[in-house]
Amino acid sequence: MPTGSELSENHVSDLIPGYALDCLDSPERLLVSEHLAHCSQCQAELQGYRMVVDNLYLAAPQAAPPPGLKAKLLGDIPKKQPSYITEKPASIWERLRSSLSSNAPAWALAGLVIVLILAGSNLWLWQRGNRLAAAAPGNFRVIAMAGTDQAPKATGVLVMNPEGDQGTLVVDDLPPLDGSHQYQLWLLQNDQRDSGGVFSVSPAGYGSLMVNSERPLYQYTGFGITIEPAGGSPGPTGDKVMGGKLPQSRLLPFRSPRQPSHLSAQVRPSLSARLRPAFQSLALDR
């Protein structure tokens, strides 16, 4: 942890070189991240040091690869799976889907509904625990996340509360990573990439993440998930595995369970209550 002398004038100047080089330990990295969120002076410092790191490749040693490597590369096109994505065992969920493959469309829809309900109810319970005082009711927003070529089977949703300051991400079928890597959520706005947090997935590829954002989540234009070193990175560096956009015209309303409508008061809580144990046991089995 940094000492008082390292934090002169409440800035984190002495830690910024290490932050740019990504060699701080987790508490230091968190400290710098939090400080950078509201300090333009240190943000400018960081840009200067990032320029150094981004150009260190100019001084990297060079060496000629063996002559046959180029032909092998061109012959191997197209793709292969990165080796740090570990082999994933078939899950109960997958086996269930497989056994019910004749009804795949219906079960895919049912699965999505379960994920949506679980995500919404999770967020609602989480908010209720954090804020007992009632907030103005409104619509939850649900963003569908889709896998890229790196994780073509992955699915997920990001549910944000009406205020946009909290959200919950639920993903499924993301490849499990080795211990030195985690997934990191990025909040996208033009060239800006804000970290939404890091998470890991179960051996079956299920994971979730609670997202807090000082800026309303609905002000971002999109969301992405990349593979990063464990603990996360200051900016995205690894493979993008999932993404989702937030076009205003395509927002899917999801009524808050707190809202006094017949549907939310009577149907959704009871449905959620019935589905939750089944879904949780399914997740625990993975």
């Binding site: 060699c23 330990d25 490749y57 990297a60 060079q62 060496a63 063996p66 092998k72 590369l73």
Partner: protein, 189 residues
């Protein structure tokens, strides 16, 4: 199309359209850099070859995601190479596949007097100045920077690798980065 006459950015656009001749040209331009980074990090010729192939395969698959505003193509390719080499290094460490290597032999930047004229013209004077600046740093600072950059080591890991106190390593890295930053600011300011 003579790909030797087009710039890196255009080359990437052709690769994004699955033009293998464009990938071939990019390989000619940057395979030495990629292979050098991999070999410097891993210290194993065969593994460095695999990494090099994997890096260009990733360029082939992800050329459409390259955005020029984030930096030059060379830097983008180098960052993929560095990240991939660090990933492989960590994986080998965790599975005890790595052979012991000498830090003095492996982890350093390219000394200024090792360059050939052709490459220097190609990559420009900034490369020369950066390498000169790096080799004006005390060896201890340069070595700590090399461990953090090439192997992705944390302060603590660098300290353990060098057998030095954590505070000493933090100071070395900070002073080294500050010196390089000063040189960049002078050139750009």
């Amino acid at each position: 199309m003579d790909f030797k006459k087009i710039d890196d950015g255009q080359l990437i656009q052709w690769i994004a359209r699955s033009n293998s001749d464009a990938l071939s040209e990019l390989y000619d331009r940057y395979s030495r850099l990629v292979f050098g980074v991999a070999l410097n990090t891993i210290g194993d010729q065969a593994v460095a070859e695999e990494i090099t192939q994997d890096v260009f395969m990733r360029v082939w698959e992800r050329a459409g995601t390259y955005q020029a505003e984030y930096g030059k193509v060379a830097g983008w390719v180098a960052s993929i190479a560095r990240n991939r080499a660090i990933d492989v290094y960590r994986h080998r460490q965790s599975s005890s596949e790595a052979r012991s290597t000498s830090l003095d032999d492996l982890l350093d930047f390219d000394p200024p007097d090792s360059q050939d004229v052709e490459r220097e013209v190609e990559l420009g004077s900034q490369r020369q100045r950066l390498r000169q600046a790096l080799f004006e740093l005390p060896k201890e600072q340069r070595q700590a920077l090399a461990l953090a950059y090439f192997r992705g080591y944390s302060h603590d890991e660098v300290a353990k690798a060098l057998g030095e106190p954590l505070g000493t390593v933090k100071t070395r890295i900070r002073l080294g980065m500050q010196k390089l930053r000063q040189i960049f600011d002078e050139e750009n300011g």
